[in-house]
């Protein structure tokens, strides 16, 4: 305690500091200095203790331990200089930032992995060819791109209206028993495991189209079953955020309820709803297991949702990885490139949705 820079009496917390508004504060660059010191100490520990490993100095480990060391250090320093509450604040700041950085590590690692491996086959052939009559090297994913877009698109066409209308019902019309029942059922529906959805769609279409049939539409239905609850949940949240004032303003003008919903409520919440829909699409577009079961797998182009098997990008990635032939690198390269393609597609959809949302979004501000 002899080191404290500020001889403030720390005992009288309840009585305000009379003479000055300044409390002891760490100088602005202090956190950075402490971070640097923490990393240096950790680096030294790694050096001395020989934790570095034979393969060379373990920089990653040193940085990680340094960062971990920073968290208690900043708390300690702040505690000594600035007092308990500030210390807590700094600790939480460090933790929150730490959580963010920590989450960035897998993201960056994943991105780097997908891009470096994916770029090997990111060529013109890859986007203009299917896998028909291709063995070993070469080939492309056009058929899987088409399949993914067709099936996800159909799933979206099924589930967005149903999901949106259901959430409208829950927010605008639903009262009492039926609404509570539907909320409950939507909850139940969020619990359907994806593979069960696949089994269900497969069994359902076996009834209509004969046993054992695997078609794009079955895949789309499986995806829709997974997608609807996400759409309902997110749209419901967003519709509830629309202030009642606006609805009342519209009713007071003699606008019928349905027009109020269509022209006032939906446009006001469109940004949130689009975000929710994008999340739901992202949720299903990468599904593998249900599509493998319901839509099967083919090497050829298939534009017909109602006849024949249909490939999709995730299934393509999976089969390329799982059933590698000769040379295995060709299969792995295709798998990664297809994964990269899938991520890019979702990115593009996301961007489009954001633009749409921005276009319709309420225009606030002066």
């Amino acid at each position: 305690m002899t080191m404290t820079t500020k001889p403030e009496p720390t005992t009288s917390v309840a009585t305000p500091i009379q003479n000055s508004l300044t409390a002891g504060r760490l100088p602005t660059p202090a956190p950075w200095l402490i971070l640097g010191a923490a990393i240096a100490v950790s680096a030294a520990i790694f050096g001395v203790m020989g934790l570095a490993g034979e393969a060379g100095y373990n920089w990653g480990g040193a940085l990680l331990v340094g960062a971990l060391l920073y968290i208690p250090s900043i708390w300690l320093f702040s505690m000594l200089v600035e007092g308990r509450r500030r210390a807590m604040d700094r600790l939480v700041t460090a933790l929150v930032t730490g959580a963010f950085v920590l989450a960035m590590i897998p993201l960056i690692s994943l991105t780097i992995t997908v891009i470096t491996f994916g770029l090997n086959r990111f060529d013109a052939d890859f986007f203009t060819m299917s896998m028909r009559n291709v063995t070993g090297e070469g080939g492309g994913v056009l058929h899987a791109i088409v399949g993914t877009l067709l099936m996800t698109g159909t799933a979206a066409i099924i589930s967005i209206p149903i999901g949106l209308m259901t959430s409208i019902y829950l927010v605008e019309y639903g009262r009492g028993q039926l609404a509570r029942g539907i909320t409950f059922l939507v909850d139940v529906m969020t619990g359907i495991p994806s593979i069960v959805a696949g089994l269900f769609a497969y069994a359902l279409f076996s009834i209509f189209l004969g046993p054992g049939t695997r078609t794009g539409i079955a895949g789309a239905v499986a995806l829709a079953v997974l997608m609807i609850p996400v759409v309902v949940r997110s749209s419901e949240e967003m519709l509830r955020l629309v202030p009642n004032e606006l609805r009342e303003a519209s009713y007071a003008l003699g606008v019928p309820k349905w027009l109020t919903i269509v022209k006032v409520v939906l446009p006001t919440s469109i940004a949130g709803i689009t975000t929710g829909i994008m999340l739901s699409i992202a949720r299903v577009i990468g599904e593998t297991a249900p599509l493998l079961i319901a839509a099967g797998f083919t090497q050829s182009m298939n534009w017909n949702l109602f006849d024949g098997r249909m490939s999709s990008l995730p299934v393509f990635v999976y089969t390329q990885y799982a059933n590698q032939g000769n040379p295995p690198e060709a299969y792995l390269d295709r798998a990664w490139a297809a994964a990269l393609t899938l991520i890019l597609i979702v990115m593009a959809l996301n961007l489009i949705a954001r633009l749409v949302a921005r276009f319709f979004a309420p225009k606030f501000g002066r």
């Binding site: 909850d187 529906m189 593979i195 359902l204």
Partner: protein, 312 residues
């Protein structure tokens, strides 16, 4: 003005009726779908409940002794994932909503959203190829140095493909959706309440504790439930990453790990025939029920203090 007086008398407008009718229709579609799924699951499961090893070769004895360890593994893996993901996603959401500079925040939000788009197969590939080898030395160190702690006891897995790794992969997978919801909710915290806290002389953290977190509590629970639902049902990534056997063990770092229901279906379904198929579907039914129970508990938690909720 007798014209006006009759004018206010009109029958219900067709637009309204069509619109509310289609909303009800959409709602009942959910009912129908769900009934169909439930019916399918139950009908398909019934033979499994009474099957023994003779009927279905994958059953050790009865159905329940088969599903028990799987159920344990499912819950254990999801719990591990959630223990990691909930604090981190709250952290990220707070970072984006209350710590990062405005400009940066929306970009960061977008980046995290993108993680949601990564297909589970890719998480699987990444888990096998990148994550597991990277964490294996840490596991080895843990077993050597804190192996006395039951969760960390050895022998360490030689490949790092343990339940903890699967938990990490699951955590990374559920992060985006949980973060997105938490972030939206935190951003909705009324400025009034935030300023009320600040005006009382709260530090940023204290403001978050008094205004933001209580307001976002139900949102956090919703997010956790959605994340949990995803973690419980995730199939491919777990199947690919986890070194699964039927064991029931809490050890995190060994080669012998419990399997999960969804992963087990994926692993066993291709070779399944006869009653085995029913057995696997029945495990799906169990998973369905578990997820639902978790959901119901979460609803109950949220509704318990409704009176004090932020939505006023």
């Amino acid at each position: 003005m007798s014209t006006a007086s009759t004018a206010i008398k009109a029958k219900q407008r067709p637009g309204d009726r069509v619109f509310s009718g289609s909303a009800v229709f959409a709602g009942s579609m959910i009912l129908v779908t769900l009934a169909a799924v439930a019916l399918f699951l139950i009908v398909q499961s019934i033979p499994a409940f009474f099957a023994s090893h003779e009927d279905a070769s994958i059953l050790p004895e009865s159905f329940w002794s088969y599903v028990g360890p799987l159920l344990f593994g499912t819950i254990w893996a999801a719990a591990l994932a959630l223990i990691m993901a909930v604090p981190i996603s709250i952290g990220i959401a707070l970072f984006i909503s209350h710590y990062a500079p405005r400009r940066l925040a929306s970009v960061l939000g977008y980046i995290v959203d993108l993680l949601a788009a990564v297909p589970s197969v890719v998480f699987g590939l990444w888990g096998i190829g990148v994550l597991a080898p990277a964490v294996q030395p840490i596991y080895a160190w843990l077993v050597d140095n804190v192996g006395w702690f039951p969760l960390f006891s050895g022998p360490v897995s030689g490949t790092g493909r343990t339940i903890l790794t699967a938990g990490i992969v699951l955590a990374v997978m559920v992060l985006p959706i949980m973060t997105a919801i938490c972030r939206e909710v935190f951003l909705q915290t009324p400025v009034l309440h935030e300023e009320a806290a600040l005006a009382l002389g709260a530090t940023r953290w204290e403001m978050i504790r008094t205004a933001v977190l209580p307001f976002g509590r139900s949102g956090i629970v919703s997010a956790a439930v959605l994340g949990l639902g995803r973690a419980l049902g995730e199939t491919m990534a777990v199947a690919m990453v986890l070194s699964a056997s039927g064991a029931v063990t809490f050890q995190l770092l060994t080669s012998v790990n419990p399997s999960t229901i969804a992963a087990n279906i994926a692993l066993s379904f291709p070779e399944a025939f006869g009653i085995n198929v029913n057995v696997l579907i029945a495990t799906g039914l169990i998973l369905f029920i578990v997820t639902f129970v978790v959901n119901a508990i979460a609803r109950w938690i949220v509704s318990r203090r409704q009176e004090f909720s932020g939505a006023n």
